[in-house]
């Protein structure tokens, strides 16, 4: 298929570093998809916060506070993904390296893919925030106790996101595949 061969020949003509840099653009784009998670979660918390203000208008300030506090935790994986995207765009540690350029390119894309894991933590933590907001509106006296359970559960929901961050950082900064 000479057209595909033409394309292949053309790309092989390119400076091999271009493959790594181009892959970083794709990786950064993929990482931003992670924002789905925090946004769904925070939106859930927003909905529950809104409902809670209607249920118990007297504790509106507390509802809004817990909604934002719980939502802030849910933002974590969105921030981590943004950081990985910014590293890929502005402080890419792979670009200066020499050697197996296709492994570096794959690692840049893979770092972005790994960050997608944060979708889960974002949704889950936001759900927890929403339930906490509603429950606190119904039982304001138990705010401390409820928040402790929310934070505990949110911390557990973060673990796979942390694993993914570690894998992304290894791929970018301490890539064992490039040493083989």
């Amino acid at each position: 298929m000479e057209l595909l061969d033409f394309l292949k020949d053309y790309l092989q003509m390119a400076d091999p570093r271009a493959l790594v840099i181009g892959a970083s653009a794709v990786g950064a784009g993929i990482a931003m998809i992670t924002g789905i998670g925090p946004a769904i979660g925070q939106g859930y918390a927003a909905g529950k916060g809104t409902e809670s203000v209607g249920i118990n208008p007297k504790t509106g300030d507390s509802s809004r506070f817990v909604m934002i506090l719980g939502g802030a935790v849910a933002e974590t994986s969105g921030i981590l993904s943004l950081v990985i995207a910014l590293i890929l765009l502005f402080a890419n540690p792979l670009v200066g390296l020499r050697g197996m350029y296709n492994v570096m390119a794959a690692s840049a894309v893979a770092a972005g893919i790994a960050m997608l894991t944060g979708i889960g933590a974002g949704i889950g933590q936001g759900y927890a925030a929403g339930q906490a907001v509603e429950t606190i509106a119904r039982r304001p006296k138990l705010q401390g106790q409820i928040l402790r359970v929310m934070f505990l559960g949110q911390a557990i929901a973060q673990t796979t996101g942390i694993f993914a961050l570690m894998v992304a950082l290894i791929l970018l900064f301490a890539n064992p595949l490039l040493r083989l």
């Binding site: 400076d15 784009g29 998809i33 939106g43 927003a46």
Partner: protein
């Protein structure tokens, strides 16, 4: 500019177009989340019309929090399109 540089830059710019498109998929989240908040807001206003001000303020505050990752995605896409830091790395 030699052919090798042209091909390399083309590859990076093509990948940037795809990266910008991928980033916008992140907008799924704010859309779902804020829509949920909108639905709960409409429900709450129907039940306690007298608390309408507080309800809408809370809905909008929560929706603002849910917008952030959509903004991050937009910024990354705009950087890829209009202030591409990558294409300059290839000299």
């Amino acid at each position: 500019m030699n052919d090798s540089l042209i091909a390399g830059k083309a590859l990076i710019l093509a990948a940037s177009a795809i990266g910008a498109g991928l980033a916008m998929i992140g907008g799924i989240g704010p859309g779902i989340g804020q829509g949920f908040a909108a639905g709960k807001g409409a429900e709450a206003v129907g039940r306690q019309p007298e608390a309408q001000g507080d309800i809408i303020r809370t809905m909008l505050l929560g929706a603002a929090v849910a917008e952030t990752t959509g903004i991050y995605a937009l910024i990354i896409a705009l950087i890829l399109l209009f202030a591409n830091p990558l294409v300059g790395l290839l000299k």
